[in-house]
Symmetry: C2
Subunit: 218 residues, 2 copies
DNA sequence: GCCGGAATCCACCAAATGGTTGACGCCGGG
DNA sequence: CCCGGCGTCAACCATTTGGTGGATTCCGGC
């Protein structure tokens, strides 16, 4: 009775890699693959019908196309209430952004790994997830702890949204139009943001937000 | 006589995936793997000593640790002059950023693929590279053509320096002090930078410079 | 030897941004 | 039930930024 895994990633190369690595481990089988969240939900049902439901979902958080990882995680976890199988979801992604991690954890993910993780970290995480335990990559755990130790005044969701638009290079007026609020409100938000980030202008706010991984610069 | 490939990528998962995919193709063998550019050069020499030099190098452009892809490509391609084996370099990466593509091509890469490419595109590209031909992903080719149609003026070294400080969040006065120039000069530089980047304010300049990989956001 | 680009500087004016104070409705925790 | 945080808006003012049109030096290429 091997651990049955559902792979969800939009990169064929990564799927092949995970399949190769996982099937090399004792007691693990890749039961199915999906390229995005929607396909993942379908596969989950299909496996259920076959009488061999997935034990763990291993999923990328950001997928270029289709339903994204956070949404998919929420959907999968919420199946429990309906009496359907809701396997633990393990996130495997490239970035360790605060916002991403938090979103994943809130959505009910039971682990968060980085793609450059060594294979045995991957193995350990899958085992932990299958056993109902939680597994965070050291880097991710460190980041969460750091959060707790140095409680940085958190930006409100609205403020994060502002910062994202800031980083786009939009002016206050343009931001106001985007969000359907007045320019005055934008300025108020900015003042709050500056205070929370400990800066005094918009470019510094972007720099600080990037450093704190509140936003991601590609 | 199979095509011998050297894999260079810092993600174990991706290496495993490429290895799995490539060894599934007729006439291709993964001769060795490396996690960064420095290791790749060592492997190249090692394979040479074994009497079975690599025919193609398949490399990620951005590597978190160690020598990066562009540097490695330059080094590999420049071996030809020394009479050492200089196999064609195929870039396989996540982003299709203008600056990245250009840097890779200038460094002598003979192909540029995206990681979400379907396996047979990968296969075709490796075959092309081994045959001494060039292979660009359609998206990449389109981007290059666009570049040629709309040539983008390059920033001068001094201007790049300005942009770097800009992204730090410094004001004009602070930048002027940092560079030991007058505030007026800073403003002049900024006007030039805006013109070259096609923007009209400093935050947009940062966004654009980041997008073009003129500066790197951590 | 002339031309152009890079880098430096100045002045002036218009516009955007930042800082302050005050205000309102909503919601959730103590 | 009251307080505090969030999100919204307004008016006012100081500062910073952006835009324009010059000017100078230095350098390298044609």
């Amino acid at each position: 009775m091997s651990i049955r895994i559902l792979l969800v990633d939009d990169h064929p190369v990564v799927r092949a890699g995970l399949r190769a690595l996982l099937s090399g481990f004792e007691g693990m089988t890749v039961a199915a693959e999906a390229a995005d969240g929607a396909a993942a939900l379908k596969e989950l049902d299909r496996l259920q019908l076959l009488g061999e439901p997935a034990d763990v979902v291993l999923m990328d958080l950001q997928m270029g196309t289709g339903m994204d990882g956070v949404a998919a995680t929420t959907r999968i976890r919420s199946r429990e209430a309906a009496g359907e199988p809701a396997p633990p979801v393990l996130i495997l992604t490239t970035y360790d952004t605060d916002a991403d991690i938090l979103a994943a954890v809130e959505a009910g993910a039971s682990g968060y790994l980085l793609k450059d993780a060594p294979p045995d970290q991957l193995r350990a995480a899958v085992l932990a997830a299958a056993a109902g335990r939680t597994a965070l990559a050291p880097e991710v755990a460190a980041r969460l702890l750091d959060r707790i130790r140095h409680p940085q005044p958190a930006l409100s969701p609205r403020e994060v949204q502002l910062v994202e638009l800031l980083a786009t290079g939009l002016g206050n007026r343009a931001i106001a139009r985007q969000l359907f609020i007045s320019e005055a409100t934008v300025k108020t938000h900015l003042v709050h943001i500056y205070a929370k980030l400990g800066v005094d202008n918009r470019t510094a706010a972007i720099a600080e937000a990037t450093k704190r991984r509140i936003i991601r610069a590609q």
